[in-house]
Amino acid sequence: MKINENLAISESGFLFNPTTGESFTVNPIGAEIIELLKEGKTDGQITEMLLKTYQIDSQTLQKDLHDFNDILKQHQLLEPNE
């Protein structure tokens, strides 16, 4: 899965999906993850990068990232790879 290319995200964590007109707010870590997804990073790469920055164990991070991805999918912000 990859993040919807058209998704606009501002520094404040405000997301706008121009296809559906929906908007969302995410916290700073959510915004960071979305930026990494936009850069084309895989879940594994994102986990690795976040583990270096934040004091968190790998298992909890992977679970949280999985939950976050589910929310993104639910709102159609992630789309299947071509």
């Binding site: 606009a8 296809t19 559906t20 007109g21």
Partner: protein, 348 residues
């Protein structure tokens, strides 16, 4: 550069909670870059707010209700034309369009241009005929049926199931959750708007609208899709945002090219959770939220005026995405003498 001055008659000045499009159309016309305007308002009632907006409307005349017939309307328009020398009229109500379409040739002889759908386009897209319209043009529409008696609802409930939509032939729509509600809404709507009343299968989803303009040769001159962000209890958008939905734009272009639509329109769409778009209604005119289209770069009232006058209009190709319109209500203070003039003389 000197711009031509065009005199344009505009209806739909009832800028109330379920607003007519007139005031928004006039705002677009006032911002036109290809001409200057003198605006003549046409009102049905003396309490239509637009009548008193003197910064937007130069002069207003009362015109007869559509129920009075096309001849009575023509005679009133002949009088107005003798005084105002109108170049263009933009009618903005569904219920009056039939008379204006019928009068198109006669008004042209008086020097008044319009850019309206043909009678067959107007009839074909009517909500009473929407099911056949969908089949003919391959556009997904919810199951619908026009009925003339409330007893028909009972026989049809296996096809429609509850909740179902009960719609008036011109305006009004209610969601009925049971037979009793369905009958009540049928009676309420038929008393107000006459028969038939339309039953439509309820589609759960998110509402999107598109406003646009067809040139009558199958080309889409303008198209701006919008997601409703805030909806009033009458189902009208009080706020909305321009979006970039390729599928919605493709459906719009398909509609314009298949029907060779002439004039402005609004498509009311419902997008389900599995991404199916249903065409719920086609309004054969400019919608009240058209100022959003103007604000994002597609001045539909200006383009329509130019098409009416036979000028070449290049189709719009872009618009700003992610711009909102947020409607508000506003109290004007009006002197009694103004109310008196429009009420007694039918002119202001």
């Amino acid at each position: 550069m000197n711009k031509p001055l065009i005199t344009i008659g505009v209806t739909g000045l009832n800028a109330i909670d379920s607003p007519g499009p007139g005031v928004a159309v006039i705002r677009g016309l006032r911002e036109a870059t290809s001409f200057d305007v003198r605006i003549i308002g046409f009102a049905y009632e003396s309490m239509e707010p637009g009548i008193y907006m003197h910064d937007l409307i130069d002069r207003t005349y009362q015109i007869p209700y559509p129920s009075a017939g096309a001849d009575v309307l023509l005679s009133r328009l002949e009088y107005i034309q003798s005084r105002e020398k109108l170049d263009v009229i933009i009618p903005n109500f569904d219920a009056e369009l039939y008379s204006f379409i019928k009068l198109e040739d006669k008004l042209l002889k008086l020097g008044i241009h319009m850019f309206l759908p043909t009678i067959s386009q107007f009839e074909e897209r009517h909500k009473v005929n929407l099911s056949e319209f969908g089949k003919k043009y391959g556009i997904e529409v919810p199951l619908g049926k026009a009925i003339f008696d409330s007893s028909e609802i009972f026989a049809l409930q296996k096809d429609f199931d509850f909740p179902m939509m009960i719609k008036g032939k011109w305006y009004d729509a209610y969601i009925a959750y049971n037979m009793e509600q369905a009958r009540t809404y049928f009676n309420k709507i038929s008393a107000k708007w006459g028969l038939p009343v339309v039953l439509q299968r309820f589609v759960h989803g998110t509402e999107y609208n598109v406003t646009g303009l067809g040139d009558g040769n199958g080309n889409t001159v303008a198209a701006v899709p919008m997601r409703k962000q805030f909806i009033t209890d009458k189902g009208k958008a009080w706020a909305g945002i321009s979006i970039d939905d390729k599928k919605l734009l493709a459906i719009t272009r398909q509609f314009v090219s298949e029907t060779r639509w002439k004039g402005a329109f609004e498509l009311e769409m419902m997008k389900t959770s599995d991404n199916i778009y249903y065409l719920m209604e086609i309004n054969p005119r400019i919608p009240a939220w058209v100022y959003l289209a103007v604000g994002v770069g597609q001045n539909i009232p200006e383009a329509l005026t130019n098409l009416a006058l036979g000028r070449n209009v290049e189709p719009f190709t872009t618009y700003d995405v992610g711009k909102l319109f947020i409607r508000y209500s506003y109290d004007m203070i009006v002197d009694r003498s103004e109310f008196e003039k429009i009420s007694v003389n039918g002119e202001l």
